[in-house]
Symmetry: C2
Subunit: 226 residues, 2 copies
């Protein structure tokens, strides 16, 4: 077990019983998640404010950054992306696992797993690392897919920016199970419970111009969301 939260920025200040310090659990969530919410600061001085956008991502536990690397990509034309390198960003991956319906509004909650990574952004310049990161992002969405695609063109690679964030500074917070109510509320006979939620897939929709059967790697991925 590798401890997480090595700095005050990612040390939980509240509900520490929901904090998890097992790096393997964080990595499992990051492997399972489909999108991350990337927070960047834009603007200067009094005008500075955060912007949070959903992004595709991938992780490389053996990446060149401390404790591994989280990669996101975007268009080089994206304004927020141009301003990012060198700055600290926050990458948050949340899996919503259910609604917790307690006997009081105060004890209502959600079941979730939430991983937060904070760190300085590095713009990936090295062509080999960049190509690897882009493959990882495609493979993160559908394992086996990178080998089924036509190769990236030089123009596409030039139009795509890849950003790397170290996985070093990270935390994981989770909640699971039913409501935790106060005994008087339980005794008073209010109903309570929880509603588990999960992401499922509808059948694959082949493109009208696509040949042949749905490839096996796509069928396998659909089965992950059965």
């Amino acid at each position: 077990m590798t401890e997480l939260s090595p700095t005050p920025r990612t040390t939980l200040t509240r509900e520490k019983e929901r904090g998890v310090s097992d790096r393997a659990e964080l990595m499992a969530l990051l492997r399972e998640g489909l999108i991350a919410h990337l927070g960047v600061t834009v603007g200067d001085g009094a005008d500075a404010h955060p912007v949070v956008l959903p992004v595709a991502y991938a992780v490389e536990p053996d990446g060149p950054d401390r404790d591994g690397t989280l990669y996101v990509h975007g268009s080089v034309a994206a304004g927020w992306l141009r301003r990012t390198p060198g700055a600290s960003v926050c990458v948050t991956v949340t899996a919503l696992d259910g609604l917790v319906l307690a006997r009081s509004a105060f004890n209502h909650s959600m079941n979730y797993r939430c991983g937060v990574v904070i760190g300085p952004v590095r713009l990936v310049d090295d062509p080999e690392e960049k190509a690897h990161a882009l493959d990882l992002i495609v493979e993160h969405v559908v394992p086996g897919r990178a080998a089924a695609l036509r190769p990236n063109t030089r123009k596409e690679l030039a139009a795509t920016a890849v950003l790397a964030v170290p996985l070093h500074e990270a935390s994981l917070k989770t909640r699971a199970g039913g409501p935790e109510d106060d005994q008087p509320d339980i005794d008073a006979g209010y109903w309570a419970g929880h509603l588990p939620l999960r992401v499922v897939a509808s059948p694959v929709v082949p493109d009208p111009a696509a040949p042949g059967p749905v490839p096996e790697h796509v069928q396998r991925r659909a089965a992950d969301f059965a």
Copy 2:
């Protein structure tokens, strides 16, 4: 139709064909979403960095702020929350609708609806507005639930901070449908398609100490995720 994106901060700079300027569509997404990702800036000067956390929320189209109010709540003990009032925050609600598997890595995408609200945070002091906002947040999770709970105590209200963000400065970006590939890639016979995703519920899990049948308002909510 009310136009969105009234300021440069929420005017889309890229892929404008994916921008939607219908306020009704934004409100529909905000009503449907279960969690928001709230981005706040913490730290000062060179140490400033964004933190992005998942939060429960609700919207009041007739709220006291310009174009309506988005409410989030948190513990008064939460460090990030104490530093927030007056500052600009970003509240992002994303529905992931599917994976878009194109013929090239470059044209891979996701189907989604993403609403972004940026604005100054107001700490809700007025007891009536605060109680209304907390009811709205419970009702947002499960409509009909607020009336089924024991009332909030003064201690609980004192321990809960409610933040309000105007719905004025907002944008909505969406993508739907299959891949959009280049004709040479289509002609080359690569497979492509998309995998629709949605959130579903497993059966309600009553708390072991809960009396009687699952209440109707909870059954109705579970049916939303059938």
